[in-house]
Subunit: 228 residues, 2 copies
DNA sequence: CCTTAGTTAGCACGATCGTTCGTTCTAAGT
DNA sequence: ACTTAGAACGAACGATCGTGCTAACTAAGG
């Protein structure tokens, strides 16, 4: 043993190169990012458990052992993949919503950003976390915990937006933010399920209309009417 | 070749023992049922793809090859498992709803039957189809088609109930049955996701309240008002 | 009773799983 | 320039995957 007790743990990006311990090389970091991007995509198709080292290595054109060296175990790879998916989700869904004005518009922006996240087909299997929640929910362990934490954070985010909208009088104060948040989360899940199953973006228009109606917004601005 | 072209397909229970072809034995049918019941349960934990012949055989205490003889391939086992899950779902969720009076009460009864289906913990991994839809949605083939068909049938069922409720004047005719069905399906999915992830029946009460409010029903039947 | 055919088990196969090891190459710190 | 250690590789491991093949057992129709 040359140094500390922990053998391999990474995950401290904010370390001031103290003590000459654990210094990842630049090309390694680039490869690791490429691995995780591919892993997040593959996981939406094969699941986090169905994701195999061999397939993943073949997908990015490197050897199993070379890839494996970046993570000490499959579980570490899964955890890093969840992290990566969280970053992507934060970039594509949360950030656009944060850029919107607080209140009802922010709630709508969050939903819209999610729908565009699906429509843009960032992942071939729809929303990473929608699948991961149902897959890992029955598998206790650190991976489930990570997925649950992200999901809880997302729900908290929605509820915060909803609460603000109520405080600003844009939603009736008789509305329960918890219930409305639950409904919006349900709309999001139903949209993802239908989109994944049918592969058609038609459901996104339905979902947008449902969100507008539920939030008491007019039909987008101009063309109201038929829909469905 | 002794008879028809199809080599092994079962799935015709209503056959009058014609021609002395394909006569399954009583003990075989019992075993097959036991296999499928265990398969449906295991699939809600490991997924339809993660379900392995070895695990399943060990779970019911028989050999891999003995079990395998009941189905010619893993795909056939998956198809039979989806069928079995469909039967269970029809018994536990659809039937109670069909027993309710047509109209708004039937919509509520369907949701309530689903919540009780979860609460009773028929499957350790929550709703079979909620998981199967997201898992198989990205995997083209007969299994996905079977899951999609069941899901479509369930949505049609809800929409039929909703439409009847509107026709009977129990719901405003300004409501779009497609949109309301989408919302109810979303509530169901969100309930399952939360229940699977947290394992707590607390979310069921929230879901029940959300359904009542969405359908314009008073808080349970007597005390209207506060409800928060 | 005897025959027939559906069960079931045992064994083994090629493939793939996650994982380990030893080695080579190369980026980076001195 | 020399040294150090991360990065990537090929090969191989034990285990398990789905899938066959064969033989013993047994319920059921004649």
């Amino acid at each position: 043993m040359t140094e500390t007790t922990e053998p391999k743990t990474r995950a401290q990006p904010a370390q001031p190169a103290q003590r000459t311990e654990r210094r990842p090389r630049a090309d390694g970091e680039r490869t690791r990012s490429a691995i995780l991007r591919a892993a997040a995509s593959l996981a939406t198709v094969d699941g986090l458990e169905g994701l195999s080292i061999g397939n993943l290595a073949a997908a990015i054109g490197m050897s199993k052992s070379g890839l494996y060296a970046h993570f000490g175990s499959k579980q570490e790879l899964q955890l890093a993949t969840v992290e990566e998916a969280g970053r992507i989700f934060a970039d594509e869904v949360v950030q656009p919503a944060l850029a919107a004005p607080a209140g009802l518009a922010q709630v709508a922006a969050l939903c819209e950003a999610f729908f565009e996240h699906l429509q843009r087909r960032t992942f071939p299997g729809g929303c990473f976390f929608a699948g991961a929640v149902l897959e890992m929910g029955t598998r206790p362990g650190p991976v489930k915990e990570a997925v649950a934490a992200f999901q809880a954070g997302f729900v908290d985010l929605i509820r915060g937006f909803v609460t603000t909208a109520i405080e600003q009088g844009e939603l009736s104060s008789s509305q329960d933010p918890v219930q409305l948040t639950f409904e919006l989360n349900g709309i999001i899940l139903a949209t993802d399920a239908s989109f994944v199953l049918n592969g058609s973006p038609a459901v996104l228009d339905l979902a947008r209309q449902v969100v507008r109606n539920r939030l008491g917004l007019g039909a987008d601005g101009h063309a109201a009417g038929s829909g469905q």
